[in-house]
Amino acid sequence: EDKVVQSPLSLVVHEGDTVTLNCSYEVTNFRSLLWYKQEKKAPTFLFMLTSSGIEKKSGRLSSILDKKELFSILNITATQTGDSAIYLCVVEDYGGSQGNLIFGKGTKLSVKP
């Protein structure tokens, strides 16, 4: 059965800390891995990863994929209170004519002032 597992489930840090969020997956026909930032009102797309070893960066956020070991990490440096959110890892596969998405449960990040 395809699955996506995120860890930790919940994380509390202080402003300025660096955090690493983990996502491991077991998916038969991998297409891509996506990271989203889920806040109260709407999710924000962060990264789409398709190739191993290529780091994607956006400001203080970066992410990398390892297709051999089947995991991805999302790094946030110099965290701010505005980074507090649930971070979702989603894997897209080639199943069926339109593909499927397999969801992790998310990592709840709380950044304290």
Partner: protein, 110 residues
């Protein structure tokens, strides 16, 4: 222990039909979302709701509407289905520390 249930797994509708996609959650969450997923595009947000009778447009609301009359139920409505609305539709219910997604409804408009 199914937590988010979408009413149909597969649907085939004709162009111009009005289509209702239902989503029910049993976790007393306030926040519910409707997405569509197309190959290579990931999740795209259609509408979301953070309270009963409240709704907000997402990134691609055109051609869709929603209804949230009860906390546990969030419905997506295609007023007049078109072939470009053929897609996988996913409902999500987001709590304080976890996100739960339904199994998806694969809609084909012919």
């Amino acid at each position: 222990d199914v937590k988010v249930t979408q009413s149909s797994r597969y649907l085939v509708k004709r162009t111009g039909e009005k289509v209702f996609l239902e989503c029910v959650q049993d976790m007393d969450h306030e926040n519910m979302f409707w997405y569509r997923q197309d190959p290579g595009l990931g999740l795209r947000l259609i509408y979301f709701s953070y309270d009963v009778k409240m709704k907000e447009k997402g990134d691609i609301p055109e051609g869709y509407s929603v209804s949230r009359e009860k906390k546990e139920r969030f419905s997506l409505i295609l007023e007049s289905a078109s072939t470009n609305q053929t897609s996988m539709y996913l409902c999500a219910s987001i709590g304080r520390i976890e996100a739960f997604f339904g199994q998806g409804t694969r809609l084909t408009v012919v």
